[in-house]
Amino acid sequence: MRSHLLVLLLLAVLALLPQVAGQYHLTLMIPFFAYGIALLGFNLLFGYTGLLSFGHALFVGIGAYAAAAITSKLGLRSFELILVASAVGAFLVAIPVGLLSVRYTKIFFGMLTLAFGMLFHSFLFKFYDITGGDGGMRVLRPSLLGMDLSTLDKTAFLTGPFYYYCLVLLGFAGLAMWRMVNSPFGLHLKAIRENPRKAEYLGVRVRLYRLFAFLISAMYCAMGGAILAVSTGLADPELAYWTHSGNLVFMVVLGGFANFLGPIVGAFSFIFLQDQLMSLTQYWRFFLGATLALIVILFPRGLMGLLQDLGGRFRAAEAPAPQRISHELGTERVNP
């Protein structure tokens, strides 16, 4: 109950943010929403199913290029159509990729997804006539719910209607994911993560459920990619490059993959951390890397894990001794 209230409070804060925050920080919130949605899907595979992909930028790229193809090539501007096309495109590509990849686990799964990601990147880079090559493809401003917003300047569009659209989208994507991970389907995934052999013995169709998780994560990433592309105005091969896949992993680890909200917190922290570091020093990559190393060494459960620990200690200090034990146990149980 308390966590539900906290989420509602966060959504309310995000809804009020355009009234108080500067325009630049509001434009940074668009990639936050994009990565938030993408990482909710990514973490279904990583945090809940136990499969770490190093190639999910492939699906972010599919979403971005779907947006480019629909707006620039087909001349259609509906963002709802873009979202559907992104998800369908990612679903179709994820079927063969997922079928081949989920036969493996651990490093083999990671390497295979990395290979498929790089294959797609090479396709984007080499097939100039279709994809625009290194220059990418323009993404024109879409309409939202049938409303043509071309009269607004780009900043007003991003910090106004598109901001709220993405916020609502993140809310629905989060709700859908919450229902999934707390359903029997989610329990199957967690069982597979904990012990695939035992899960199989109990009748769980391990590969099929892994494939489902892969397909859903691909669709979430593609929707995130579509939002990113609208914000940038371009779909370019860098979005599908392996370093971008690495960023997805970084964000999830930063926020904490063992917590439902971890990826969203990770996306937010990464974007604003990178923003600050890039302004402060040209060695920002070094500090980002050092941050990741510190997080992994000192706080392996990420920022959300740290917050939970701090919250647990605070409550433990407040509560009488017998209740302290039950709270600590409760904290342990929260983790998926």
Binding site: G22, Q23, Y24, H25, T27, L28, P31, F125, K126, Y128, G132, G133, D134, G135, G136, R138, R141, D153, K154, T155, L228, S231, T232, G233, L234, D236, E238, L239, Q274, D275, M278, S279, Q282, W284, R285
Partner: protein
């Protein structure tokens, strides 16, 4: 008394013409003039961005010492150019948070191609150092309002090809290319072949190599070129991969008896040491050749300053950065003058900048009405007869960009077929 005053005014006028950094005497402005710089600081283009930034710092030092731009001292806000997505975010920071009045910089065409429309949509005055909004050789923003672009990417390839024809026509029968695997490299190679055809040279292509940008193991590419035994190698490699290529080619014996055309080698000129870089190559320094025999006093001063401070010699990115600052300054001061010294609006500055002429390090330059720069390009044949540990130009050719750049609105390939080239 009158004669004396006339003399002083004449002298002041002459000084203003001689130094593009002398300020137009506008009303004194108390606010500083914030200018954003977006330049690469790391990766394969890191040293390129650094050189441009050093050029900007020098220009701003001089401008501020002379009173600023139309009376306002320049204050720089520097952000890093990386990939298109992150670069657009840094651009937004400069415009929305730092409230800069003009953004300058950008080296990568991949970034400028996406940044151009973003700048237009944000109505932010932007001047690219080395970026275009070309998709290949096709202009995607033929009539921008807020974006001013550099010369077209393929200028250096056209000039390098023309010089190859000028010096070596009839002396080669087979050609090979090793060019970076992206639109710049592909277009340069295609332009070279198109110009050979235009001049009736029936050269046979014996090898085409496309290393990925920044690849530092070029052994297999060099082996393929060596096996093909070309008379001439055309290469638009321009990043840190170029010195590696030269070392590998030298080690493999590819340089013996082979002619080389490097239209964009200037970015690496001090890294291409005499030990492994032969004489007699066509070598492009783009819009700044640091050792130009008849260089302007401005260039001499800058090169000396650059050497004294950084113990290095500048390449063309410094000139592009200084050119962008000069064009902006000239546009602002022209607009301010038209308004009687009052600070002009962005729209006034844009109108005044169109068609403006400046004297940059490498010579005269101007900004076309379609917001594409025109500058002087330098290439020539390399020599080892110098006081440096790297080759310089023994023979220097200069071409103004109207000779090697397609006119406003023209299709590049049609222009190649019909242009009147002077070689």
């Amino acid at each position: 008394m009158n004669a004396s005053r006339r003399k002083i005014l004449k002298a002041l006028g002459a000084t203003a013409i001689a130094s593009p950094f002398i300020s137009f005497p506008a009303l004194a402005q108390s606010r500083s003039l914030k200018i954003g710089i977006l330049a690469p600081k790391g990766g394969i283009a890191g040293t390129v961005g650094e050189c441009g930034l050093r050029g900007t710092l020098w220009a701003v030092e001089k401008i501020n010492a002379a009173g600023g731009i139309a009376g306002r001292k320049v204050e720089l806000v520097v952000e890093e150019e990386t990939n298109p997505k992150d670069s657009i975010e840094r651009f937004r920071k400069l415009v929305l948070q730092d409230r800069v009045e003009c953004v300058q910089g950008v080296v990568s065409s991949g970034v400028s191609l996406s940044l151009g429309p973003a700048a237009e949509e944000m109505r932010a005055l932007t001047m690219f150092w080395d970026g275009t909004t070309q998709d290949g050789v096709k202009e995607t923003m033929p009539n921008p309002r807020y974006v001013f672009k550099s010369t077209d990417n393929e200028c250096e390839a056209v000039m390098g090809s023309l010089l190859a024809i000028k010096y070596w026509k009839g002396k080669f029968a087979t050609v090979a290319g090793i060019n970076p695997d992206y639109s710049y490299g592909r277009n340069n190679w295609a332009a070279f072949l198109a110009l050979l055809k235009r001049f009736g040279i029936e050269a046979r292509v014996v090898a085409e190599q496309w290393p990925k940008v920044g690849t530092l193991d070029l052994t297999s590419h060099v082996a393929a070129l060596k096996a093909a035994k070309p008379d001439l190698v055309f290469s638009s490699l321009l990043f840190a991969d170029l010195p590696v290529f030269m070392k590998t080619a030298y080690g493999a014996g590819l340089v013996d008896g082979t002619k080389f055309v490097f239209p964009a080698a200037g970015w690496q000129h001090t890294q291409l040491k005499k030990d492994f870089t032969p004489e007699g190559m066509i070598f492009g320094h783009n819009t700044l050749y640091f050792d130009l025999p008849n260089a302007s006093p401005l260039q001499r001063e800058f090169v000396q300053h650059y050497y004294d401070r950084y113990k290095d010699y500048p390449h063309w990115e410094a000139d592009r950065a200084i050119f962008a600052m000069q064009v902006y300054k000239a546009g602002v001061e022209k607009a301010a003058k038209a308004k009687g010294g009052a600070w002009p609006s962005t729209e006034d500055i844009i109108n005044a900048t169109e068609g403006v002429q400046v004297e940059s390090l490498g010579g005269k330059g101007s900004m076309r009405k379609d917001h594409i720069a025109e500058q002087t390009f330098y290439q020539g044949i390399t020599t080892h007869k110098n006081r440096y540990d790297f080759p310089t130009l023994g023979t220097v050719d200069a071409m103004y960009s109207e000779q090697i750049q397609k006119p406003a609105g023209a299709d590049f390939w049609t222009w190649i077929k019909s242009a009147q080239f002077k070689i």
